[in-house]
Subunit: 337 residues, 2 copies
Amino acid sequence: MVSREREQGSAQAAEGPFWLGIDLGGTNIKSGVVDDQGHPLSSVCRPTEAEKGPAVGLINLAEAGRQAVAEAGLTLDQIAGVGLGSPGLMDIHAGLLIDPPNLPGWTNLPIRRLLEEKLGRPTAFQNDANAAAFGEFWVGAGREVESLVLFTLGTGVGCGIIDNGRLIEGRHSHGAECGHIIIQMEGGREWPPGYFGRLEAYASATALVKRAVEALDRDRNLTTSLRTLLAQDNLSSRTIFEAADAGDALAKRLVRETARYLAVGAVNLMHTIDPDMVLFAGGMIAAGPSFLEQIRADIREMAFPIPARATRIEYAALGVDAGFIGAAGWARFKFKP
Amino acid sequence: MVSREREQGSAQAAEGPFWLGIDLGGTNIKSGVVDDQGHPLSSVCRPTEAEKGPAVGLINLAEAGRQAVAEAGLTLDQIAGVGLGSPGLMDIHAGLLIDPPNLPGWTNLPIRRLLEEKLGRPTAFQNDANAAAFGEFWVGAGREVESLVLFTLGTGVGCGIIDNGRLIEGRHSHGAECGHIIIQMEGGREWPPGYFGRLEAYASATALVKRAVEALDRDRNLTTSLRTLLAQDNLSSRTIFEAADAGDALAKRLVRETARYLAVGAVNLMHTIDPDMVLFAGGMIAAGPSFLEQIRADIREMAFPIPARATRIEYAALGVDAGFIGAAGWARFKFKP
């Protein structure tokens, strides 16, 4: 079952129906209106102010939506549907935030209904990583395929899965929580606290920085530009990738290992979902084609020959807009007549 | 989308349509006719004679089918459809065996079409582990749920996945090859040759025996009934489980570790598919409720709280008949008007 229509021909003047996507994050809310072909007509970013609690947060969510509509030169009654993407813990079908770690205090909040009441438009709800995968599937790097897996690398490792045109949400809204598959069951790194050997403990941007600090601690005589970066409070996944590009040996090793961990994650999904395509998104993709080539090489070594040969391994295409585009696409999927 | 009809009320005299299921294995072919409610009306087992090549094998396949039909008191023209389940390597959609390790020489064989020609009935084709999962979903332990994962423990670790009523076949027929997810990426056991740290290398019946032999080799002074079993050429997963039940310390440890490995596999699928239910099938399930309880305890420790609490962890219900019942159910799914 394919749930999208592909864009035909060249871009034309935007025509309705129009879809509003809102991507709720712990720090910022991103929103935008897209047309029925997935072209963004506006793009807004404003603070979540999560610490002020859900009442203020909901005002900010609605305001982000209204701004995006205004910036697109539209009014709310021209919006066919609203899609809201949010981090977990959640009940997707109930439209309920249960206890999201990045939104402390936003507990047992019927956020889908509350936002629908504020904006007065039909509102769909989805996990943010699932929404991003749906966006890539609809109009991004996966627009030509039927099945894909998206890994989003940041503070954690997010994941979304489309199998034959259908999002795998899971029966308890824990589908595609693939940052939390166990890839090192014995002697594995601990993260989140109390859990061991999970992909996220190795492959997130945060984990890369942590591994760098550990390496610096382990060998205090090692000469590396990462030590300077740490002293300057400037050690991040981005600066580690830059140091690797500049030839720093430790940075190169850390980056190489990161590619390996991501390849392990990809292989596990290739031997479970067997998609057409595995995509990587997030800050790390600024590392460019050589990093992707390292991931591909490791996948070729570890996956069965047929998927190793046939599965496309690519960077995602929609960048930071994937969240709201995907949320808008999800609303379209839910509400388009 | 739910693709089955549930059995209503009490069993009644079998009514058509009737479905023939054939489960092709490297050693034996199992076949049987089931009615439209999934009740087996016959059950046949005969040698594959795989070593004599595909021409002889196909004769045996067709003969197993005819025997099952005759034993059910039917004729072939009363069979609405035939389902064939087979081990891989395969192309499910093309009905093609590519290069199955357990059927050496059965290479690039259009087995679905050839069997259809021999029996003259519409024939559907499926991976054997997928078919078994479909059988459990249709009329087995999963008949009340929408999503399930089945692990079948034997020479290897087979797997089948149903997500919201749909079998995950994969885009290159490598869906649900979860015996080959990587659970120990560093320092992992090698199996199959050239591949490291895969679930199958730890959790199959074969792997259990191998781990027992290694333990005996490592400590030649260790007193254990497993040493006697090895000397008697009687060391198998079954006898190891029996020794554990009888209190043998090494056997108990090996069995406990096996439960742990299976729990890791289950958790990884719970964080990917998030099904209603994870099922275990194969010889090991003779180990009984205490083994299942060990698996459950480890899952509760390693999975996220919500799926840990909500996901049912059970043994499969259809036993060795799951293969042909599932294949028959797959034919029903494909051909039922």
